[in-house]
Amino acid sequence: MASVNTLPGMAPTLAGKTAYVAICGLGMAADLADGLEAAGARVAIITDDTSCFASRSGVEAAFAAVAERVGPADLVVHAAASRALCGAQKLTSFGEAGFRCADTALRATLYALQAAHGQMAGRGGAIVVLGPAMSLVGASNLVPLVTATEGQRALVKSGARQWGRCGITVNWLAAVSELFAAELAGMDPGGPELGEACALGRRPQWAMDIAPVLAFLGSDAGRSITGASINMDGGEWMTP
């Protein structure tokens, strides 16, 4: 935590605000929570351990339980993959499971957005959904993951359009794919899906690099940004 606090980007932009880190099937929740706490937020983590994200009622119940403990969310940070099904392999090896894999992750994000809306309706707030930057360019052997990720990104945009007048911002953050690679069994760490040379010469990290941007989007200063896709891959792809 100390190293996170020393970073210049970690001004207490979320002081007095409550952030939920709602992560399904991925392992970055603790790092993100560290970074958001360093930005001054009260932080609660919701993961597969506390909610399976398999139903809307399940996610809403998890959000309600957290709200009783730390209050309603001002910022919800979410990411979802279905790790059990989404390991790297050919599409034809997945069979129909490929569709179910993508669908599981997409539904988890739908439920998380709905649960977040339930807490923010009438109050406003910020939602940021995370995904691997590789979805912007596609990835061999990861068709279900890329399908789900791009679907999540489009869902974010629809949410931004529908909820903007309610004071709810919804944004997408495309994180460097390597941060997700550890979650994807069988993925080739040297494969082209992980991008070209990183322009910054180092990969952005959850707590030190990405959390400050999440904090900005959740702060009052970030309230005019919605429906955006923010690429935090250290300059791998530079799309569009």
């Binding site: 809307r56 050919k90 599409l91 034809t92 997945f94 069979g95 129909e96 490929g98 569709f99 993508a102 669908d103 997409l106 539904r107 739908l110 957005l113 709905q114 809306h117 339930g118 309706a121 979805s135 360019v137 596609g138 990835a139 061999s140 052997n141 990861l142 068709v143 279900p144 993951l145 890329v146 399908t147 789900a148 990720t149 791009e150 679907g151 999540q152 990104r153 489009a154 869902l155 974010v156 945009k157 629809s158 949410g159 931004a160 359009r161 529908q162 909820w163 082209p192 899906e193 429906g227 569009p240």
Partner: protein
């Protein structure tokens, strides 16, 4: 149109081929020389298209199958191979009618989602898997997925449709990378077409039509056969053999980002 038989000798299956854009694609591909397999859920839905193709001297058969059923689509692909000796082009166009209904994101139910996802996403995966061995064998295979600019800009009207079409854009990019070594091109087409339901609506609401048409730099919506179908023919032709993983917006310039 299709003055040149750019698809002569090739065989294509098209889901949702009984009306609208699917019909337009089927007619254009048949006119371009392709053997066409009209995939519809009910045989009577394909009869009129079959007759039109026959009247123009084309070759087509009807494959009755639910695009969301692996078993039925496997049989439909098998029919294509049995009828014409192989399969070179697979076009997933079928969509659920609920995609045109406005929905509030917070009110979307599992039933809403399932109805559209089973066809838009499930159908894309299923057709890809069923067609893959034959597209690979073709050595000039094409997989075409009908997408939408709503998947790019996230329309407010129907978040389910936007999400699924956004997912389709990712599907295309990923599959193009995966199937490139098999000489299979993967294309997306994002159309804006004047279908029959749209024509009926606009005839009843000419003021809305006039206002809507101002959004199109070309001043009109596309015709299913002449504009959308011909675009599909083009990307499947040998002239576009070096293009893959792209989604072509065939929308009169409606969405230019």
């Amino acid at each position: 149109m299709s003055h040149f038989k750019t698809l002569q000798g090739r065989t294509a299956i098209i889901t949702g081929a009984g009306a609208g854009i699917g019909e337009g694609i089927a007619l254009a591909m048949a006119a371009a020389g392709a053997n066409v397999v009209l995939n519809v859920r009910r045989r009577e839905a394909g009869e009129a298209v079959l007759a039109k193709i026959a009247a123009e001297g084309g070759r087509a058969v009807i494959a009755v199958a639910d695009a969301a059923s692996m078993a039925q689509m496997t049989a439909a692909v098998r029919l294509a191979v049995d009828s014409f000796g192989g399969l070179d082009i697979a076009v997933h166009n079928a969509n659920n009618h609920a995609s045109a209904h406005p929905m509030a994101l917070e009110a979307i139910t599992d039933a809403d989602w399932q109805a559209q996802a089973a066809v838009a996403h499930g159908g894309a995966f299923i057709l890809a898997e069923a067609a893959y061995p034959y597209l690979q064998k073709s050595q000039r295979g094409c997989y075409v997925l009908l997408c939408s600019a709503q998947g790019l800009h996230g329309a407010a009207m129907n978040p389910v449709y936007s999400a699924l079409k956004g997912g389709n854009l990712g599907f295309i990019k990923a599959l193009a990378r995966e199937w490139g070594p098999d000489c299979i091109n993967v294309h997306g087409i994002a159309p804006a077409a004047m279908t029959e339901p749209a024509e009926v609506f606009f005839s009843q609401h000419p003021d809305i039509r006039d206002q809507f048409m101002t959004k199109f730099p070309l001043g009109r919506m596309g015709q299913p056969r002449e504009d959308i179908g011909e675009a599909v023919v083009a990307v499947c032709s040998n002239r576009y053999a070096y293009v893959t993983g792209q989604t072509v917006r065939v929308d009169g310039g409606l969405f230019t980002a």
